[in-house]
Symmetry: C2
Subunit: 416 residues, 2 copies
């Protein structure tokens, strides 16, 4: 976990505000769930590897004293994503929520991962979810809103890849894998971007899958550039509705995109979570292979809480990844308010006038910093300039203001 | 801990934005620290009762296996306030931070308190702190910025009470208490608002303080309505600079307040934390006795990290208390953007036109909700109205829009 310095916080706050504005325009409302959830909930969420990375919170007092072994020391955990808490929230509150619910969530999640470049144990996720819409209009809305939100941040070179879990499952069965072990095939296939075809083939064989099935799967996927191609290979194994829905998403999104972003089918797209039940999607930026957003349909997760299935789809922006792209390109988020610094003599006589002047400027929307005059005024003015103060007033003891307009381009020119 | 429903999240987001805008105008910059800190740090912070309420995070894997008894099961904890993390942050990052640092923090903190009305185990704090300013200009800036932030939320009936820990300490010694046990005197005195003079006297006697000292203290405080009165009673026990600083804060804030809020001395004000070293302050709203903001100077806390003292002052808004006041008065935070709902037939023919229309409206800043036409259109339109949609378009299969302008006052009038 890490500290965030003021310049990056300003960028993060700006990016969050942009994203929220777009999502609100798309009719989404923000909700909030606590950071801490019951450990039992977190552990039965079919969230794959993430469940191993939960930070567990030690029981307290009495409850700790009666704990029965290591497994029993904790009954709460920090959330590792925003989807599991959303479903719990919906189950608890659905009578008080709009139906269908179009929810925005932005907040920190925690995973006890090994520290590595660009990965943190606390990081921010930014999700939208639609609960209560069974048709692929939900997927279409999520994709259009998310691409627009990222475009508002200046990320316009976007590619959306779409697949459907039901196609993946049919493909795996068709190729001769044991359907009961489809999960382990998905896990290996999910690494195709990273370890390549040979790596995936090796992993599949090592986990005990038949070599013939492995080859057949990888050949089939390689030759399935379009849903039509895959359909030709799979024949009637998949319901007509699945093909129609997928095509509707692809066609509608492509029409609406109108060239603003790319969208396409990808038969090899898997997504990590076990809970997906239908269309899944992922988004890349620029030439990069790592995804900056991902999501899919999870129609059976709510049902486990409230006893009746509620159709659900979500799309999650990898907020930290987005921020690191924005930092790399040095995105300007300069507030358009003028920043003013007022330097005053630390005497009682100067304080009244400087406070009155600051108040007046602030009422006109300026950001006004007060600083007591340092011994080395020249250095102080230079520091203020380099921190972005383009207008600096130096107040004398009587309240008279001498305005310094720094040289364009800043740096070093002002002497005290 | 609790879920927050969409209407309250909207209010919270609005309130946060208002507060941030005011603080930024006052030259503060936002920083962020992680939710999780080392337990050792949290436990040595002189934060009084709060240290008992820390959520501890269970060690993982190897580290857990070698844990040596209950005390050794955890090495991390959830932060219980934003001051301790700020000081750690400053110690780690001060070379990269503006000097002096004027920091804003808004974020959740956690305390394992017994649940009670209006208190939650996860709650939001909103702090500003100034690190690196020794003069009382820091206190003055904090008080002016915080009163202005609360006024921006419509909370204008504000009273600021000010005291100084050094006066409290001198008073306690003067009355014959053991200076080494001043802490326990402060803890009892802090409850004056809640349990009254008799309650405090009883508690002080029960914790072993001499009855004569107890009576003397309570009499002395009761007759110290002004710093001058207290000064008359304490004589030369307190440095001239303490009196002068206190008077400067009181006079300057009163002048700047110009009747917008009340400010006054309160010899009985204590504040809970052990780390305060100078002026302390608290703010009430309306006739209430419970505080909605509090803070003070803690000049020796940074020194314990970086080996040299850095003067520091902070003011923390009790964000949950503020939100509950705003909820009670039904504060309007209505977005001034017009909210539009578009109801469409769930057919392929209607989807293209409705998406195009939505896009057009969103580009003009509207919040646009898409909903598939329900079987009972009348009920659907009624529900949308009651959720605040003042403009509702119903699209036919061909893309033609029929606009429904609901009756003013809403409710029940639209039939499908």
């Amino acid at each position: 976990m890490r500290d965030v310095l003021p310049e990056e916080v300003a960028l993060r706050d700006w990016a969050m505000a942009q994203i929220l504005t777009v999502y609100r325009r798309h009719g989404f409302v923000r909700i909030e769930t606590p950071a801490v959830e019951s450990l039992r909930l977190l552990l039965r969420s079919e969230s794959g590897e993430n469940e191993k990375l939960i930070y567990r919170i030690l029981k307290r007092g009495e409850k700790l004293a009666t704990a029965d072994g290591v497994e029993d020391l904790a009954d709460l955990g920090l959330r590792f994503d925003l989807t599991v808490p959303l479903v719990r929230y919906y189950a608890h509150n659905h009578a008080k929520l709009p139906q269908p619910l179009k929810a925005i969530q932005i907040g920190p999640v925690w995973r006890a991962e090994r520290p590595q470049q660009g990965r943190y144990r606390q990081f921010t996720q930014c999700d939208i979810d639609i609960l209560g819409v069974a048709s692929e209009v939900a997927e279409i809305e999520l994709i259009l809103a998310t691409t627009e939100a990222l475009a508002a941040l200046g990320l316009k070179d976007l590619t959306v890849r779409i697949n459907d879990r039901r196609l993946l499952a049919a493909t795996v069965t068709h190729c001769g894998f044991d359907p009961e072990r489809a999960g382990s095939v998905f896990i290996a296939l999910d690494k195709l971007d990273k370890i390549g075809r040979d790596g995936v083939a090796t992993e599949l064989r090592e986990t005990g899958h038949a070599a013939a099935a492995v080859d057949r799967l990888l050949d089939l996927l390689a030759s399935s550039a379009t849903p039509a191609a895959l359909r030709g290979l799979l024949g009637g194994r998949v319901d007509e509705g699945v093909w129609r829905g997928l095509q509707r998403i692809l066609d509608t999104v492509e029409t609406q995109a109108a060239g603003r972003f790319r969208v396409g089918f990808d038969a090899t797209l898997v997504r990590g979570m076990g809970y997906y039940t239908g269309p899944i999607f992922e988004m890349q930026h620029g030439g990069g292979t790592s995804s900056i957003a991902g999501g899919g349909r999870y129609d059976r997760m709510v049902g486990r809480f409230i006893g009746r299935d509620v159709p659900a789809t979500g799309f999650s922006i990898g907020f930290e990844r987005v921020i690191s792209i924005l930092l790399d390109r040095g995105s300007a988020t300069e507030a358009d308010t003028e920043r003013v610094a007022l330097v005053f003599d630390e005497t009682e006589e100067a304080l009244g006038p400087v406070l009155a002047l600051a108040r007046d400027l602030r009422e006109r929307g300026k950001h006004v910093l007060l600083e007591a005059r340092a011994k080395r005024l020249g250095k102080q003015l230079h520091d203020l300039e380099s921190r972005g103060y383009r207008k600096i007033g130096v107040l004398g003891a009587g309240g008279a203001v001498e305005w310094r307009e720094p040289r364009v381009g800043g740096g070093g020119g002002t002497s005290g």
